[in-house]
Symmetry: C2
Subunit: 214 residues, 2 copies
């Protein structure tokens, strides 16, 4: 898979550099029986795209980067703060039933739970709720605080993290979304987390579609 | 947002071409007070990346492409068949309760439903199931066939579609996943769909993470 269809000559140059690095443009030109002028544009492109690296008075190096690295860099530059959605927040006292109603009304897959001080204390997913409901428990009495995943077992991201970081957390922990938080020191000097947003697989899919749109 | 940090000169060239297209390399060189030779690498790069287009004997044009288009192309090249997961399939007679158990055992968000001829007939999501269960209906008696989204109201993709196509369908129809199908003509000459896979937001997030991995 590659986007730029590199020319045969460009591929040959990369092969030559791989084998003989560091190598000067004169030496590359020589082994291809071409002039340096002819190679100038190719070398400029390969260097710019990051596949080759040029060091003055030494020559060209192969960086080990592929075109994929290049796209990867792009995903690392998209910030959470630019793509996050509004968080849907309930309190620990909210009943399971009310949580489910909120889930449907807001049309989200995950609810974030905050404690009395309005700091992140838990997360509850559609899957958690379905499990409880099928278990025939009294969903009008049990509060989400009893079934939620509780801090410190919650994965979260900050505004300045990349959407890639968020995607990685979601995949590694097999969850549907992560809360976006702002870290704050409370009156006891302890770090607490204020919920400011939500990044779900939907946000990532949306970024994916936006990038792919022509 | 951009991956390649274009040089000031390259940005100037793009601006000049935008305003004066079609424009020859001599004319660009002239307005920058530079020689054609000096510009050669820049023009080659901008053309290769697809931002400029060169037509012989006419000159350079601005294509309107950005670096984003370039990455988009890449996403269009990743095929559904290379990224799909196994589908989790139930029959129309499966009870809601058994469907929920299957959902948890297989750890998926959506079940695909097939009819007696083993062709795609419906889709049922975690959300559909949660709604029914909260509605206090007898989940041990009601079959998924009664609550599923039914053909022809189902969005699907084929092996040769791109992961981008799948992501677009998922976003446009606000669903969590699409079945991957193979179109087959049945004995009456009608087109039917055999379920061969599943593309969910999880698959898309996975591709996203793989691309971003260095």
């Amino acid at each position: 898979m590659s986007i730029i269809e590199f020319s045969k000559r460009q591929k040959k140059i990369v092969e030559i550099v791989k084998k003989n690095q560091p190598i000067t443009s004169e030496q590359i030109a020589e082994s291809l029986h071409l002039t340096r002028a002819t190679l100038r544009a190719d070398l400029a492109l390969l260097t710019m795209v990051g596949i080759l690296d040029a060091r003055p008075k030494v020559g060209y190096f192969y960086t080990g980067n592929s075109i994929q690295t290049f796209i990867g860099d792009y995903l690392h530059k998209i910030k959470v703060e630019d793509t996050k959605s509004f968080p849907v927040i309930v309190s620990e006292e909210t009943t399971i039933y009310d949580a489910i109603v909120t889930l449907f009304l807001e049309d989200v897959g995950t609810l974030f739970v905050q404690n009395k001080d309005k700091y992140l204390s838990g997360v509850v997913s559609r899957k958690d709720l379905l499990k409880i409901v099928v278990g025939n428990q009294d969903i009008h009495k049990i509060p989400v605080g009893m079934i939620m995943t509780r801090m410190p077992n919650i994965v979260f991201v900050h505004d300045k993290d990349s959407i890639y970081d968020a995607a990685l957390e979601i995949m590694e922990h097999e969850i549907d979304s992560v809360p976006v938080v702002e870290s704050i020191k409370d009156q006891h000097g302890e770090v607490q987390y204020k919920i400011t947003g939500r990044i779900s697989k939907t946000n990532i899919t949306k970024v994916f579609v936006e990038i792919g749109k022509e």
